[in-house]
Amino acid sequence: MFTELGLLTEFFSLLAALYAIVALVLGERNKNEALVQSGRNAALLNFGLLAFSSGMLMIDIILQRYEVRYVWSVTSPDMPMFFRLTALWGSQAGSLLFWSVLMSGFSAGAVWLNWKTHRRLMPYATAYMMAVVAFFVAISVFLENPFSRWWYVPNSDEDMVSAVFRPENSYPANDLSVAEFLSRFSASQQGFVTIPLEIAPIDAQFPVQGVFLAARDLNPELMIPSSVLMTAQALPEMVAIGDLEDQSTLVPLSVLADGTTIRASDLPPTARLAPVLLDPNMRLDLVRGSAMGLNPLLRHFGMAIHPPMLYLGFVGFIVPFAFAMAALASGDLSTNWIKASRRWTLFAWLTLGLGLILGGRWAYDVLGWGGYWGWDPVENAAFLPWLIGTAFIHSVMIQEKRGMLKTWNMFLAVGTFSAVIFGTFATRSGLIESVHSFARSGIGFPMFAFWVTVTAISVWLILWRRRRGELRDEHQFTNLLSREALFVLNNFIFVALFIAIFWGSFGAPIVSEIFMDTNITLGKEYFLPVVTPLFIALYILMGIAPLSAWGATSLKRLGISLVIPLVLTAITMVLFIPLSTYEDGVLNILALFGYGIVLFGGWVAVYETYRGAMARISAHGESLPVAFITLMRRNPRRYGGYMIHIGITVIGIGVIGSTIFQDETTQTLSAGESFIIQNYEVRYDGLEEGQVTQDGRIMDIANLTVFRNGQEIAQLRPRRDFFPNVDEGMNSMTIAGSHSTLENDFYVLLVSWETITENSATFKVYINPLVNLVWWGGLILIAGTVFSFFPKETLPARIRQRAKQADELILKGVSA
């Protein structure tokens, strides 16, 4: 029932979205308020229906309804409840529904909060949002339906078929009788199965209905049709006939098709086969036993948060996009669309950034390669909208302050959302395969077409308004050192980074494959030389731009403002000399300058905040804390922005340290042996094999003791987890053991242990200097973004009312 309800409500949500688009556009064009209100309500209903539909899928997951193919593909009976809940976004179909409900939630939020304040924009904005939601829901309903179920279709090419509606002559795969199941074998023989067996231990024919065989110590490579094996695993109980002494050790083997032969050579000498009689009315569940559960790599706490955050970031950019499009459609090309979408943009930017940081942490913890960013195309696909979104966040300030860059901001709003759609297309279609990628599926072409259409229509609308002269800037740039000019350079660098990363991840591989029939992969040898100079320029601008003024700044004035931050940077660089020196005492001068450039941006943020507080102290006689708090409260956007800059600085220090000074070694040790890396000594104490956990994983854990300068500092337990029910190639996970300090991470992976002797094991050890600053910087960045959400402190309402009344009186006096 839950499945049917989920399916029905998802379909109705599609209808609601389509109705909302028509009603809002027609209502707004014909000035039919009732129709507009009806469209608005349909948009809200769309969210309600999609939320209900997702809830139904979640209930299916919790109740382990394995006849639902999605539930079968992402959960298993032994999976803990926590991971079962995260399975909602564990694979394509569920994550598409989840994606749709989040997007619809953003739309409903914008309708709820912005309808009254931005009435002119809202009908078109809502129609745009509903159009995008309708596309994703349609993809979910027609191509990747999460409510599709398994059906057993005897006498067909494939025994098991997944379909939304019940195929002809089929049975629900989770609930059919033995007789129904055996109908494919016995159709020509009036309900009887005759299976000639030629086996050594038992040599017999079984002319009985519903013969199953059980065996012990069976050769696992015995070829058994997969559908039959699935059935055998699903047997609820068996009644064995035969003389096996211990029936509890029976392994259900198979229903054997007519003429199946089991050869003695397939069986070990101790194997015994026994025919098993089944009650024809006994109910079978053909799917439960074969449910494999979530991809092991996704069974990590980070995966509970990383995908939702990333999705929130991705879908959240629909709001600025929709408002930009609504501004173009309605002709309200003032800054209203920016004001309406500012907080939504910041929220999307925050969650996308958080998603990226959590993704990095997940990779660091689970993927077992000692790093957090591998320039993998799927990582990059998520990074691209963040880059354009960051450019947009900076650029809209120029339009708000100076009425400039109107066209450019439109392009950035469209570009950010276009990058979101492209990233979704690239990762979900299998365009570029990677560890993150969903399998190749039928949604590739529709998503590509949608991406091209959305981008083309948006660009056409921008150019149309521009040709009509409606996006003309109110001011011109007059000074190369003005803050707006520096923001333009900042935008240019963000876009250049976007182009470089897009080209390396998608452009060059696709071009070479299409035009030269050659597969290429661009790795860090491409990315590091290309993006490093651009990031250096970005950090320098991050330092200079806040010191310049809107409108115009003289070189002299800017130079004077730079002196103190530069002095502070120089002093700190001296402190960073030990961190820029290798173990053998060689100073890496480039790394030291790298630290200096990164620190400069941070010092400017600190200095500007301090300078502002000091100015208030001298002008208003406030104490330092009061001056500081007043500053922060009166312009949270600016000082939240500075906190973000400090966070970016801390991340930059972590990236330089952990990239340039990472040290690694691979060593094989016998129990009791140790090795030395830098001033650390690692002793292998032994292995705990075959630890079985509640969720069915088997853990092999190595025990290590780590010493530094002769002092024991940590006991580490790196491990390998195996998931016996999961396909080979995906069935293991390497969990590092690490000793974390602010100085570095001592990070150990258990590589292998059985290749030489049972007592030896191979370890890969990384020393990652300053890596934890990447996470700490991320937290500061998040805090800064949250802070910049805070509403600006304004005068109390009573005083504002009095001032307004006074203004009105003055105006009356003037007119009189």
Partner: protein
């Protein structure tokens, strides 16, 4: 004289052979190669089967075999570049981080810089246009009374207050 010439030629031949031997050293299978040396080579290569997975960390049996192959190559005295070239010859340019094929290499590495350069030209030509606009605006602006410059601290305070207003 002929005798001397023959002796010189023989000596040159011996020296030449020695030089040639130095240029292509004999394989030295006894040279111990550490896992770290193997990983140093494999780190900059990709698994030929799994897309975008570095060869040093790929967990498949095939990659373990390829790492073992690298170890054998290193034992034979092959350089890192020779090993990479050998892998590219067998599996294509996808196994390295930047293609070895000269055209593909140029296409991959130069294209973003060309695009960045074009972008820079556009940005700076825009700035020049704006500067001309400014010069034109200044020339046509009505005369304004001279204002006594405020102190630096006042300027900063004014700007700060303006910013705080939003």
């Amino acid at each position: 004289m002929w005798r001397s010439l023959i002796i010189i030629m023989i000596l040159m031949g011996i020296v030449g052979a020695g030089v040639a031997q130095e240029a292509t050293p004999e394989p030295n299978p006894t040279r111990p190669v550490t896992v770290d040396e193997v990983n140093k080579v494999a780190k900059d290569m990709f698994c030929p089967v799994c897309e975008n997975i570095p060869l040093d960390t790929c967990g498949t049996a095939a990659c373990a075999d390829w790492r073992n192959e690298i170890r054998l190559f290193l034992e034979q005295g092959m350089t890192e570049e020779e090993i990479r070239t050998d892998f590219v010859r067998r599996f294509g340019d996808r196994v390295v981080g930047v293609p070895q094929d000269p055209f593909l290499n140029a296409l991959s590495v130069i294209t973003p810089w060309v695009l960045v350069a074009i972008g820079l030209v556009v940005v700076f030509s825009s700035f020049r246009t704006w500067a001309r606009y400014k010069a034109h605006a200044v020339a046509n602006a009505p005369e304004t009374p001279t204002v006594t410059p405020a102190s630096k601290q006042n300027q900063f305070l004014d700007q700060l207050e303006e910013d705080l207003k939003g």
